[in-house]
């Protein structure tokens, strides 16, 4: 069982990601399902990170207080999650922010709106890459 952390301030987006990730066929494809942990803000993520390690982290950029960029930096700075696959979901109006996120150590970004397939593909690609 792998663990996934989603950091996103919209409740229904979190629920959607959970639904996409908790799909049976997806679990079969990856040789194991996901246990999804939800964080509604950067601070929530802070609280939940020590309870890791997580195998995948998905985060938005534009959140209040601790924004996604700061979270990425924090995550990359930590023992546990320095090399954890980190996927950003975000929009296009902050192109510079996305560049920064990638430079700060995120592995991939998915612009919103994303289809369930593309999220699954991105997760699967990151996990394969990490293994490989």
């Amino acid at each position: 069982m792998r663990r996934l952390l989603i950091v996103e301030d919209s409740a229904s987006t979190r629920a959607l990601v959970r639904t996409i990730v908790e799909d049976e066929a997806f679990a079969q494809e990856l040789g194991g399902g996901f246990e999804v942990t939800e964080a509604a803000s950067g601070f929530d993520a802070m609280r939940l990170l020590p309870r890791g390690p997580y195998d995948v982290i998905i985060t938005d950029i534009n959140m209040g207080d601790i924004n996604g960029l700061e979270l990425i930096k924090f995550v990359r700075n930590s023992d546990r999650h320095r090399t954890t696959p980190l996927i950003i979901i975000s929009t296009q109006s902050t192109e510079r922010d996305i560049e920064r996120a990638l430079s700060l150590g995120a592995d991939a970004f998915l612009p919103k709106p994303f289809s369930p397939e593309s999220l699954r593909k991105a997760i699967s690609a990151q996990l394969t890459h990490a293994r490989g």
Partner: protein, 753 residues
Amino acid sequence: MPEGSGGGRGDASVDKAREDFLSEAQELVDGLSRDLLLLDQQARGGAGDPELVNDVFRAIHTLKGLAGLFGAVRMAAVSHELEELLDDLRLGRVELTVKVVDTLFAGVELYGLLLLSEKGQAPEPARAVEEFMAALATLTHRGSEGGEGPLPQYEIDSSILGVLTEYEEHRLRTNMKAGVSLFRIQVRLALTTIDTVLDDIKAAAKPHGEIITYLPSGTGADAEHIDLEILMASHSRLDVLQGVFRALDVTVEPVKRRASGEPAAIPAEPSPAPDADETGATPWPPEVSTPPEEALGPARSTGLTQPPVAEAPAPVAAPEARAALGAPNREQDVSLRSVSQTVRVDIRKLDNLMNVVGELAMVRASLGRMTERVRAEPQLRAWGSELHRLQRAFERHLTQMQNGILEVRMVPLGQVFEKLARVVRQISRENDKEVNLVITGAETEIDKLIVEELSDPLMHMIRNAIDHGVESREERILVGKPSAGTVALNAFQKGNHVLIEVEDDGRGMRPDLLIETAIRRGLLKRGETEELSTREIYNLVFLPGFTTKESASNLSGRGVGMDVVKTNIGKLGGVVDITSAVGIGTKITVTLPITLAIISVLGVEVEGRSFAVPLASVEEAITLDERLVRNFDGREALTQRGATLPICRLARLFGLEPLPVPEGQPQKPVKPCVVIASVGSRRLGFVVDRLVGQQDVVIKALGKSLKSVRGFAGATELGDQRVGLVIDVAALIDEVMSTEKERLGVAEGGLAR
């Protein structure tokens, strides 16, 4: 093909998330509406609160994301354009003008239509979307960023700058351009208490400036704590800030200004990730074992030297905007912006719960009786006491539950007032008048069922106030009033009632014109007018068929009559009253019961039948001295406290025959009393046989088949399955005291309809 719904593979479960989406989207739109109202005040007052603009931006950004995920294509497109406008606004590329705010309001309306269409309750508003997008296009500024030069003055490490989002950077620049000082606040937070401590910090910081960003430091290895560095721009002095934060166990330090001549540009490329080659301007903290302080860059200052305090006015307008509106704004801010954790509840479920509580009450009563019997048995005394204790506890908790359920039904009037605020803007624009809306008492609570029914009547009253009451700018200036009219919405609780006042400072109503109109519409005959009191003249507007002007509103095609308002308020168990002064203004007062569910009543007996009179309408009760009753041409009255009090014998009114007394039972002593009830300024004494006592009762509505029966507001359970009828004081006063003309007016109105 909507992006959100991918094919195959268990994506049917995605549709379930759609319900969440619609619910969340609605809440976001509601929040948007509240924020826009605040923004509107601020725009008129001069400065917009950047935090508010950012909140609006983020709400639209979230809506856009949601819409895209769930296949609401039109909503996504609209949100995309709106988001660009908001981005321009928050980055300072577009100015916050009234026109911009108007467009944003139009956006909220459009969202409403789009959501209805998504729920399948309305067709897709294609035209409206097109028009809106066209309007937006004239506003968005698609120029380049220009003018965002380097941040030369402060010693902020580039690794910090590298994690600021574009927006945060903009806020930083704005503050620096205004010469505001920067401070670093370091705090170590226990993860268990992080929310409350953060709230305290934010609250403490807000009056002194703006928090730019929160930077977590450290390695995340400590599972109990997190170190935060908060970058704040403040116009207050260092010692003041230190004082403010002292209680919160944080350290505050100024960020030093660089000596001039030392350039420190923002890195064009952010520093690369640790495992890449270090070609960037500043190396990343390479080792995890680096102590937290250094993670933020080498140039951290520890000195207490203050940078020269900028005297420039803070660029951030305080959220308690002192706009043109006058005092109660702080309250309005709090009530408009409080986003409560709510649960949507079907009110029928609450009614069912109340019924269950009622049943439990009967069980408790039976238990009570049984307990008494047990206690009476000497051998069972110990058991009896225990049972008694338990039974009392049961009763206590039952009452708590009953009160709890009632509280759930209560919602603050602010809900309705917010909607009305939007209406005021719209109507003022339509009439080309300037109107300020002042609201007090938005936190006053009332039963949810009543609130739902209130917005229409209140809207009509406000429309009338603005259409006919408030004069045009020129007229007002001519008579020495401020050019902007004021409409006040006041709500407050008085005993078991809630009063809502709609007041304007317009031209008031002229009694002579009112009489003329009534005569013209056949509601009055010339020659009958001398007997009318001023109050009765003002209340002529409530007669059906009275409306003085055709109000062609685009909200409702029909003309709006105050008689409809009066009827609707009446259905809620309330009354409307109106007073006016020529040249000064008009005030309409709506009196409503707090809850349809429980009321305090005075129990009375008439010819052996039990009735209940709502205490809210009762002034007092006195014993009846038949010798003091005078007969004025068929109508009976008393002299009470020096004034004439008309009386009504309920036994006669209700046609109640004396009940046969069962054999052997003595006749109950009759102590006739007069229950003096009042509604508005009308008083009537009801003659009853006995007063039984006061109690709180659950009132239930009478069924449709009894709608034609006048005089009863409902029925209540009196214990051992008997029912007491609750008297509708207003209806009876109306019936007994309305003049022939009023009765005729009602009759005619009925026919006309």
